[in-house]
Amino acid sequence: MNIQTFVKNFAEQFDDTDIREIKKETKFQELEEWSSLILISIIAMIKTEYGKNVTGPEIRKCNTVKDLFDLVASK
């Protein structure tokens, strides 16, 4: 797994947020556009791109994009 690709895949789930605003240290739940809809989108992306299952509560426990990357990598 590559962190840059992961950050890019992650950022693609947002429609209105400037992609450059999302980096590995971004606290994504503080983004204005963050919502339960984006959460579902992220779960689907992780399943499609990485073949891993993560749950909503697991994602909500993550602080930064890097935390989420580590979670997915650990599965």
Partner: protein, 245 residues
């Protein structure tokens, strides 16, 4: 005491009887006096269902109904029946922006094409007795939008529309067609597809009756619709929701 929901002397076919709502319906039909023909793909699961059922004349038929020849085989093994409950179904959770043709084919295949083709064959082979009852397990989701539920909801909406037209065509023979639309029921179907149990348990508290349904909450309604007590009911879509929406 009157036994309003007796299914004595009735032969009933239940699809998707290996788990969840289908299993609960098969079990209660047998306890209500019917001879029940249960079908699904997984033999071990069907055997479990069979072991829970009352009576000795029930029969399991292993079949993957996505193939027409398997539908033909199933129909050949049936006597003339007095009722069918179409329970086989799969869930789907995908956002509209991520829908794929494969997802549509899969969900519509199991939730719409299979019950329709099975029903077609039952009619063409004259397997339904006069006055029999046809029940489709649809979903409250057909008319109650939820995020990521579009294809599942559409598949259930499709079967409800189909059922209403079917009802008109079979009514001259006294055959009745009704749908059951449950809200969330604790089955593999809702737990499998990406929603974690924790989130579901939070959501279930919002239901006015304080919980999601159990398969055993749905089965008595199916038995009622199969029984002669519902002789004047057809083209109805009964919602059973614990008050949830």
């Amino acid at each position: 005491m009157a036994n309003l929901f007796s299914l004595e002397n009735k032969d009933i076919l239940v699809t998707g009887a290996s788990s969840g709502i289908g299993r609960a319906i098969a079990v209660l039909c047998s306890q209500s006096g019917a001879t029940v023909y249960i079908t699904a793909r997984r033999e071990d699961k069907l055997d479990e269902t069979l072991s829970l059922m009352a009576g000795t004349s029930n029969k399991k038929i292993i079949a993957d109904l996505s193939k027409n020849e398997n539908i033909d085989d199933l129909i050949e093994q049936l006597p003339k029946i007095d009722g069918v409950v179409h329970c086989a179904g799969i869930g789907s959770r995908v956002l509209c922006k991520s829908v794929t043709r494969e997802e549509i084919d899969k969900v519509m295949g199991v939730n719409f094409i299979v019950p329709v083709m099975l029903q077609t064959t039952l009619l063409a082979k004259k397997k339904l007795n006069k006055g029999s009852s046809i029940v489709f397990i649809a979903s409250y989701g057909a008319n109650s939008p939820a995020i990521a539920n579009s294809i599942y909801s559409a598949s259930k909406g499709a079967i409800i529309s189909y059922a209403n037209c079917l009802a008109l065509e079979v009514a001259p023979r006294g055959i009745r067609v009704n749908c059951i639309s449950p809200a969330m029921v604790w089955t593999d179907l809702i737990v499998k597809d990406g929603i974690d149990a924790e989130t579901l348990k939070e959501d279930e508290k919002k239901y006015p009756l304080g919980r999601y349904g159990k398969p055993e909450d749905i089965a008595p309604l199916a038995v009622y619709l199969l029984s002669d007590s519902s002789s004047w009911m057809t083209t109805t879509n009964v919602k059973i929701t614990g008050g949830g929406s």
